[in-house]
């Protein structure tokens, strides 16, 4: 949806505000995904949808109504429902007035070639990947997805455009493409994937080659005992761990509530000197929106610099509590979650994750991890499983496949044990390097 079309919808709602404060948010777009398994396409979907969310502000009372009937009557009904909620809602003492116009950084426009990708183009790319798997005698499963707008993986909608009665207006439409493939050989498997705002970065054949190679190298794994190992974590594994950590610890609310490992540690050393982590939607590999769900300009924000805790990301409410300015990481107001770092960037080194293997005398190469979850918030301890390619490293070389482990690992501790890093790539919504980490805790084995 173009900016002028979005603006017209937002203006239609704002015209009904009268003397009330009103914030209007539009989200949506077109999201398509071709899914394959057992070397054939098994599911192929397209969703086109938009939704409008109206928030009415009456002094310190506020209420929200959302819906996808964007007709005049539909918008009027939303405004009426939001107004009714606001009228009945108790006052929120900390509620802030609507912000005025903001200045935003420049974000990349949608990629026209990605917008043009359709089911035929995706099927062609899938066929190339499947051909590679068939030739190797393994089964391929995966996805090729393309999208324009702000429909997320679980159907959640980000902010395409936002406006309010204080004169704020912001609009950003991006494109996304992702291809992921698992190659299966019985219970063992290999994986490779790419995500980008440009579909031209997708090479199904090359990804299939990498996944197939990992699957074949994973045949007949040996069992290693649980314990602490030096590990090389490929970027997909690092991204999964950092996403959970960001969700758990990088927002100002968990810091203020004492639930983050950053709580009480700002300005002190909490990680190795080689660790710098920030949030930056303007990183060329992210290309994210330049504003948040409150309409505030998102600023690149350093969270950890050379091992020292610098600070979390803020929304308006958490910033006001500390007399600071929002860094533009807010969710829709009001909420109980607080701000979130959604464009994490971890600085890295050079070369690929494969290059890190040469620095390991004895350890493990982890392709990716699975089903991570929080064990202990205060130490950012996560559990999860290794998946789709776990290999022994001996004397700087891959020596063979190893059966998968469950890990329980404090991410704070891990960030103090990083020995080397590869060049950052985008994986799992994060820009991060592969890591060579000492003393990673593998807790138990599984059956494959």
């Amino acid at each position: 949806m173009r900016s002028d079309e979005a603006r017209a919808i937002l203006d239609a709602a704002l015209a009904l505000a009268g003397d009330r404060g009103m914030e209007v948010v539009l989200g949506g777009g077109l999201f398509e995904l071709t899914r394959f398994a057992n070397n054939e396409i098994t599911q192929n979907v397209s969703e086109r949808r938009y939704a409008l969310s109206v928030r009415i502000v009456l002094g310190r009372r506020t209420g929200r109504a959302s819906g996808n009937d964007l007709s005049h009557d539909g918008i009027a009904a939303l405004v009426a429902r939001a107004a009714e909620s606001a009228r009945l809602a108790p006052e929120i003492p900390d509620l802030l007035p609507l912000p005025g116009p903001q200045r935003y950084g420049e974000a990349p426009p949608p990629d026209p070639a990605t917008e043009r990708i359709g089911p035929v183009e995706r099927a062609t790319e899938v066929a190339r990947a499947v051909a590679r798997a068939k030739a190797a005698g393994v089964q391929a499963a995966g996805i090729y997805e393309t999208g324009v707008g702000t429909i997320g993986d679980y159907g959640q909608m980000g902010t395409l455009a936002i406006a309010n009665t204080s004169g704020l207006f912001a609009y950003h439409q991006g494109t996304d493409a992702a291809f992921a493939i698992s190659a299966l050989d019985g219970a063992v498997s290999g994986w490779a994937g790419v995500e980008s705002r440009r579909a031209s970065d997708v090479d199904g054949d090359a990804l299939a080659a990498r996944a197939v190679e990992k699957a074949i190298r994973s045949r007949n794994p040996t069992r290693w005992e649980p314990g602490r190992y030096t590990v090389v974590l490929e970027p997909a594994a690092v991204a999964d761990l950092l996403q959970d950590t960001a969700w758990l610890s990088f927002g100002a609310l968990p810091v203020q509530e004492g639930r983050s490992f950053l709580s009480g540690k700002i300005g002190t050393r909490i990680a190795g000197e080689n660790v710098t982590i920030r949030d930056d939607p303007f990183h060329p590999l992210h290309g994210g929106a330049p504003f948040d769900a409150e309409g505030m300009a998102t600023r690149p924000t350093t969270i950890i610099e050379r091992g020292v805790a610098i600070g979390p990301v803020y929304d308006r409410q958490t910033a006001a509590k500390e007399g600071k300015e929002s860094t533009g990481h807010g969710l829709p107001t009001p909420n109980t979650f607080g701000p979130i770092a959604s464009h994490v960037v971890m600085e890295g080194g050079s070369g690929s994750a494969d290059d890190l293997v040469s620095g390991v005398e004895r350890g493990l190469l982890v392709t990716r991890v699975w089903y991570t979850n929080v064990v202990d918030p205060g130490t950012a301890t996560l559990t999860g499983m290794t998946r789709d390619g776990l290999f022994a490293i001996e004397k700087g070389r891959i020596s063979g496949p190893v059966g998968n482990f469950r890990f329980n690992q404090s991410i704070v501790r891990m960030l103090g044990e990083v020995e080397a890093m590869s060049e950052p790539v985008r994986a799992g919504g994060v820009v991060c390097p592969g890591l060579l980490v000492r003393s990673f805790q593998m807790s138990s084995v599984t059956e494959f």
Partner: protein, 482 residues
């Protein structure tokens, strides 16, 4: 609604679909949150749209839209057919649907008090009373409570002649108290983590003693800060019902989904150790363990008259007396296990997403005895309550859970509170170690409302009924060796 759904169906068939079904949905939702004495969320949501699923040359296509004009739904149906054609270009075996007589029905879940007519003031008053009771206990740092109400009306039409109009109303809520000290974050929730939900109207909210339990919940959260760390080692473990519900969900429900077994979820959620040759032969659990899938369970979250393929709700054993017996199936995959008819497990989380195999309600059948009987029968062990963390490998063997609280049992009694309990296991070893399941009086239907599956991801809800049960020689404590 009906005219547009029929137009979409006619368009799909006219464009060449050998089979088509259309779901026209109207969704309504209300969310209320109160945190530390303030409204943290107050939102009404409505969504309408249509999803068109087609088979073209034996391959699936799906398109969904909220452009609810004649032109909009015709374009959507045409897009579904176009996508189906593209799918057919990379197809090895055409889809065969198990036969199902086309049903014509109108059905609604039980709803005595429409939650959308209950005033917001009434709902907020309840949440503020809970909030005050939680924060009335010194040491509570965070008090959070919520109520959620959902109504979904779906008209399902198929090219085979099915015409099913179903309305489901869901009500639920929950709360938690969190106490924090020096990086130690302890939480207690009621009635379980993620709240308690049923397909009922507001009468369900009125049936729960929300405020009465709040002081105990808050006191336990604060007391956990001073409690001893749960020791590591091998223990006999008693799990409270809501934790067993999640254990069922992760280690029984997901691995028995036939699409996973056949590799169709391999790239994301994974596959399953319950491969086809294990049906009827694998000793999944001890003879005390019988697990029943049941889409007819009264007030269950996955209770319906027909699934999203128009297949009537059913009840059947997944595990009987410990032996693995059945899968969760669809019309597309029933033939893979030699069954003539789908078990009716196909659902979608909205008009915008394609239906796929989802767990229906799946419950551990009750045994005999009370929780006191079970405690009295346990010389030394641990009693674990209320889930806090969960994880399992992609074939569903190795799991690890954390609960909010543990109690050490000595001499048949709870003798002390312990914090941060984690336990690990391998699915079949764990269920085979079950030697005591409490009886019907202790059995409760627990809901799961955040089950993620599929690409694009979908969120489903379902109920798992369970009574407390005991598992022998469980590995405890590894989560804190980090």
């Amino acid at each position: 609604m009906r005219d547009l759904a029929q137009l979409a169906l006619d368009t799909a068939v006219g464009r060449g679909a050998a089979y088509a079904d259309v779901r026209f949905l109207e969704l309504r939702r209300e969310d209320l949150l109160v945190k530390n004495g303030q409204v943290g969320g107050l939102e009404q949501t409505e969504s309408r749209g249509v999803g068109v699923r087609v088979l073209v040359s034996g391959a699936w296509g799906y398109a969904a839209t909220d452009e609810l004009s004649r032109e909009g739904v015709m374009a959507c149906a045409a897009r579904a057919v176009q996508i189906g054609r593209a799918s057919a270009s990379a197809l090895l075996s055409p889809v065969r649907l198990a036969p199902e007589p086309p049903a014509r029905a109108v059905w609604s879940s039980s709803c005595r008090v429409d939650p959308f007519t209950v005033p917001l003031e009434t709902k907020l008053d309840l949440l503020f009373r809970v909030d005050a009771a939680l924060r009335g206990v010194p040491g509570v740092d965070i008090a959070e409570g919520f109520l959620t109400f959902i109504r979904k009306r779906q008209l399902f039409l198929s090219s085979e002649g099915a015409d099913i109009d179903q309305t489901v109303t869901r009500s639920g809520g929950g709360y938690s108290a969190t106490a924090v000290r020096d990086g130690d974050v302890q939480r207690r929730s009621y009635p379980q983590a993620e709240g308690h939900h049923q397909t009922l109207g507001y009468e369900f909210i009125d049936s729960v003693a929300w405020v009465d339990e709040a002081p105990r919940v808050a006191e336990e959260a604060v007391a956990l800060l001073s409690a001893e760390q749960c020791p590591a080692g091998e223990f006999d473990v008693i799990l409270e019902g809501s934790q067993i519900a999640l254990q069922i969900h992760e280690s029984v429900g997901h691995p028995s989904e036939l699409d996973r077994v056949l590799g169709m979820e391999a790239n994301y959620a994974g596959t399953s150790f319950l491969t086809l040759e294990k049906k009827g032969s694998l000793q999944f659990g001890s003879p005390r363990v019988t697990l029943t899938a049941d889409a007819t369970l009264p007030h269950g979250l996955a209770t319906f008259a027909f699934d999203d393929e128009g297949v009537a709700a059913q009840r059947w054993p997944i595990v009987r007396d410990g032996r693995f017996e059945g899968y969760l199936t669809s019309r597309e995959l029933a033939h893979a296990v030699g069954e003539p008819r789908s078990r009716g497990c196909v659902r979608s989380d909205g008009w915008h997403h394609i239906p796929m195999i989802r767990m229906v309600n799946l419950s551990l059948e009750p045994g005999a005895g009370t929780l006191d009987d079970l405690l009295a029968d346990t010389g030394h062990g641990l009693y674990l309550e209320t889930n806090r963390s969960w994880s399992i490998d992609q074939l569903r063997y190795n799991f690890q859970f954390k609960t909010e609280i543990a109690w050490e049992i000595r001499g048949g009694r709870r003798v002390r509170m312990l914090k941060n309990p984690t336990y690990q296991g391998i699915t079949t070893e764990f269920w085979n170690s079950c030697d005591f399941v409490c009886g019907e009086a202790a059995w409760r239907p627990w809901g799961v409302v955040n089950c993620g599956k599929g690409q694009p991801g979908q969120v489903a809800d379902m109920t798992h009924g369970a009574a407390p049960a005991r598992f022998r020689k469980v590995r405890v404590g590894a989560g804190y060796d980090a």
